[in-house]
């Protein structure tokens, strides 16, 4: 179990180019579909908790899932798995990476990589909207969810509010609406 956790997050750490949010579908594929450690709905709560915490989202997800699966040791093992690939690459090839980061081939691969990463993040949003019943038939619940979604997006985009603030307010709204 611990070994499985470690290998899963090692693999995720190895491919996490361009930021954590693009890793969410990769983590979901592993954690929900392959290993069946949790349901899609639960996974969406993991992302909520990880999004509230400081630090990189992929590491936060790893710590939470590791803890849920195997306590403190699980959390440590999962976190270590996510950071090990970059640690080894930096220690082993740090200066080389510096030299090649200006290489045309590296630049052009990052040019394509960034697009796929953007696509992955958009897909993550669609997937989560589906999980939460935001895309299902129109009901009072769907409408309220769409309103909360729109309000939060405005808070992020227009008012540049911090995720923690928006999540906290949203939680209060939830208690008022659904509690």
């Amino acid at each position: 179990m611990l070994f499985e956790l470690f290998v899963t997050f090692l693999m995720i750490g190895l491919v996490s180019f361009g930021g954590g949010y693009a890793m969410i579908p990769v983590i979901q594929e592993q954690v929900v579909e392959r290993h069946g450690w949790m349901e899609a709905q639960q996974f969406s709560d993991v992302i909520a908790v990880a999004g509230m915490s400081p630090g990189p989202i992929a590491t936060n997800i790893a710590i939470f899932i590791g803890y849920e699966q195997h306590g403190l040791i699980g959390a440590l093992v999962a976190m270590f798995g996510t950071i090990l690939p970059s640690l080894v690459l930096i220690l082993g090839l740090g200066m080389l990476f510096y030299k090649i980061s200006e290489h045309p081939l590296v630049k052009s691969s990052f040019y394509g990589l960034r697009s796929v990463v953007t696509g992955l993040i958009f897909y993550t949003a669609i997937m989560f909207a589906g999980n939460n019943g935001m895309l299902s038939s129109f009901s009072w619940f769907t409408w309220s969810q769409i309103l909360i979604f729109a309000g939060s997006l405005v808070a992020f985009l227009v008012f540049r509010k911090h995720p923690v603030t928006v999540i906290a307010i949203s939680g209060l709204v939830g208690i008022a609406l659904y509690g």
Binding site: S16, V49, L87, K107, G119, T124, G174, Y178
Partner: protein, 205 residues
């Protein structure tokens, strides 16, 4: 290891421990803090070295915040320094996530918490859309990249069972190389509109 070395490792650990909580929501938020702590106050690195650090941190997989801590630690005090700085930057995050997970796992069946999370889930979708929008601004620089983004989304939505997301990531890198090569071969000039480099990575790293 002499006493000096241990002192060095300790101060590396402490500096990054302090930087850790600043990375709330993004590695690039660290740049000014690193400049202040590492360049101005401690004079461990020169200002121009910081640019190198972020170039490496961005081209290796993983989070910028952690990668840059590892690399700075390594530049200053070798492998031991890298480990000290990495542990320093991770420790606050680790404790906070652990505390939140504990709280959540204890409380998730409470009706009030359940109600709060019903709303928070919709906010998380908004947060992800916001992250997508920010990445879009650096990624979608021309028609080819916009097409690549569209192909990725369509593939994921409709052929999710057949394509592993990791394969798409590698496919993206290859497609990037192919597009640039083809463009050169056809003698086309890339009409890139590079957006001003604002801190696009804020929420994704």
């Amino acid at each position: 290891m002499g006493l000096e070395k241990w002192k060095m490792l300790w101060s590396l650990f402490v500096v990054f421990l302090k930087i850790g909580p600043v990375t709330f929501g993004g590695g690039y938020a660290m740049i000014p803090v690193i400049e202040r702590e590492v360049v101005e106050k401690r004079k461990w690195l020169r200002a121009e070295d910081v640019a190198d650090v972020f170039a490496v941190a961005g081209s290796v997989p993983g989070a910028i915040a952690i990668n840059s801590a590892t690399f700075i630690g390594y530049r200053i005090a070798g492998v031991a320094g890298a480990v000290a700085a990495t542990i320093g930057v991770l420790l606050p995050t680790f404790c906070i996530v652990l505390a939140l997970s504990l709280f959540f796992l204890e409380m998730k069946d409470n009706p009030k918490v359940e109600a709060a999370f019903l709303s928070i889930r919709a906010t998380i979708v908004a947060l992800i859309v916001f992250a997508a929008y920010k990445t879009w601004k650096t990624a979608a620089v021309d028609k080819a990249t916009v097409a690549l983004i569209a192909v990725t989304v369509v593939t994921l939505v409709f052929f999710n069972q057949y394509v592993h997301p990791v394969a798409l990531i590698f496919g993206g890198a290859c497609a990037g190389i192919a597009i640039v090569w083809l463009r050169k071969k056809l003698g086309l000039k890339s009409k890139r509109k590079l957006h001003k480099d604002e801190q696009v990575y804020d929420y994704m790293i």
